[in-house]
């Protein structure tokens, strides 16, 4: 279920960026909304699963992993996290 509350978008983006950088061993500054998960980052199904698990752990949220697997860009992942996260739940 999507939650529409006031969330600090840049804080969410920051955490997702850190998760991507840690798992994919890439420069966090290289990520843009349009960065393609497969074509630009060579994300495979295991990577996608690990990204989803880590994002859930960091925000303390539950994501639909099947929906997650359909995302094609970094921006879509950030938007999904933003829509699911409550303002106070962003862990450092």
């Amino acid at each position: 279920m999507k939650v529409s509350r006031q969330v600090d978008v840049s804080a969410v983006d920051q955490v997702v960026r850190e998760v991507f950088a840690g798992i994919l061993q890439i420069d966090p500054a290289s990520l843009e909304d349009g960065t393609h998960l497969v074509n630009d980052l060579a994300v495979d199904s295991l990577d996608a699963l690990e990204l989803a698990l880590k994002i859930q752990e960091r925000f303390g949220i539950q994501l639909d992993e099947e929906e997650f697997a359909r995302f094609t860009t970094y921006g879509e992942v950030v938007a999904c996290a933003r829509d699911n996260v409550a303002p106070a739940s962003v862990k450092p």
Binding site: L24, Q25, I26, L46, L49, E50, L53, E57
Partner: protein
């Protein structure tokens, strides 16, 4: 018909050098890679000696993502395979690749992915989240698979584990495949990286490690009466083997020839060695090579420097060579015991010995032992004009693997 088998490339990552040139220089000059190990980051107390590969930089050989997922043993394997394929002019894109058949990979490892396995168990028991990459990261074949993916090795690929003889068994099996008509080259060798807290403590509890007092570089003393055991090392070593005729046709460098191989099992005890089983492997390897014992110019010993191993190996050598035992040296005093990688690195040393004629020394030998009455080449490397060398590899579990190499002339 049995085909001559050429060695056309070699690659090493060892505590005394991460290229064949560095390894050659260090071992022949008698330098030791044994040093003090800082146990604190590993959660270990007390002094530790180990033969670490201190200069190993995974980023030089792998992307950061590959390096993060691949165990240290696999990282070293990829580095060694890269060097060997480069030396053999078989890296992807090279002309030699276009004409040849698919390349295979035969790897040996005693313990597989020790770092990844320890980390996974730690995460599990401390209730931390497990990585989705744990299964491929812990499976013993991951090093060979990763190297295969990186270098497009689409021929036969397998990983064998026979404890400390693993690398020699992998090379031996690859040798037999080429000799019996395998189409295409095959990379063969071993890797192990077990400087983890669990492995170090496990070995210490067996009382087979040299004591951690005095100078680290003097800790391992093969065949010397004051020997106390080995020091744990880490590394990877591989050779490229291929049918001599194909290798010459594509203009590959011929570094040497693998002439024979045999493997026996003691079937007596899980850890105690048997001179009988070792002698049978030596005799089998000489028969496989089609030579007599007096044709051998040099023996690279298993030589772990444990009290029991060195005199058992001496007894086996005397049984086969009698009074005509050529110089015998152990390079484990320099490299430490790299487990599954050791016997592959020692094969590389044998190829270097027969290609130059100069055999490497046993460093730290000071006190003769009547039960180890070998000529250990204690004074430093020696030019004996070696043309044929034997490489011994013995293991817990009673596995005995012996390889014979010859100079290419």
């Amino acid at each position: 018909m049995a085909k001559p088998v050429a060695v056309t490339g070699m690659g090493v990552v060892t505590p005394v050098g991460s290229s064949v040139e560095e390894f050659h220089r260090a071992v022949w000059e008698g330098r030791s890679g044994v040093g003090e190990l800082d146990g604190e980051p590993l959660g270990l107390s007390g002094p530790w000696f180990a033969a670490e590969v201190r200069d190993f930089v995974p980023d030089r050989w792998l992307t950061r993502r590959e390096a993060q997922r691949l165990d240290r043993a696999g990282q070293m394997c990829v580095a060694a395979v890269h060097q060997a394929l480069e030396a053999s002019r078989l890296l992807p894109g090279e002309a030699g690749r276009e004409t040849g058949a698919a390349i295979g990979l035969a790897l040996g490892t005693a313990f597989g992915n020790a770092h990844n396995v320890q980390r996974t168990y730690f995460d599990f028991f401390s209730r931390r989240s497990l990585s989705v990459h744990s299964v491929p990261g812990c499976m013993p074949h991951s090093a060979a698979a990763a190297a295969g993916i990186r270098f497009d090795l689409t021929g036969p690929s397998f990983t064998v584990s026979t404890a400390c003889s693993s690398g020699a068994v992998a090379v031996g099996l690859a040798f037999e495949m080429v000799r019996n008509g395998l189409k295409g080259p095959i990379v063969a060798g071993g890797c192990d990286a077990t400087l983890t807290s669990v492995h170090l403590e496990n070995w210490r509890s067996m009382k087979v490690l040299a004591s951690c007092s005095g100078q680290p570089g003097r800790a391992v003393r093969p065949f010397s009466r004051d020997r106390e055991g080995f020091v744990l090392g880490e590394g990877a070593a591989v050779v490229v083997l291929e049918d001599m005729e194909s290798a010459m046709r594509r203009g590959a460098p011929i570094l040497g020839e693998v002439l024979g191989y045999a493997c026996t099992s003691d079937a007596t005890h899980l850890t105690a060695p048997s001179a009988q089983g070792q002698a049978k492997a030596l005799e089998g390897a000489l028969a496989s090579a089609g030579i007599r014992s007096e044709d051998v110019d040099y023996v690279n010993a298993h030589g772990t420097a444990t009290p029991l191993n060195d005199c058992t190996e001496t007894a086996a050598l005397r049984q086969v060579f009698g009074d005509r035992l050529p110089p015998v040296s152990s390079i484990k005093a320099a490299t430490g015991h790299m487990l599954g990688a050791s016997s592959a690195a020692e094969l590389v040393a044998c190829v270097l010995a027969v290609s130059t004629g100069v055999v490497p020394p046993t460093i730290n030998y000071t006190v003769p032992d009547p039960e180890c009455d070998v000529d250990p080449v204690a004074e430093g490397c020696r030019d004996v004009g070696a043309r044929i060398a034997v490489s011994n590899a013995f293991a817990f579990g009673g596995n005995n693997a012996v390889l014979v190499v010859r100079r290419h002339e």
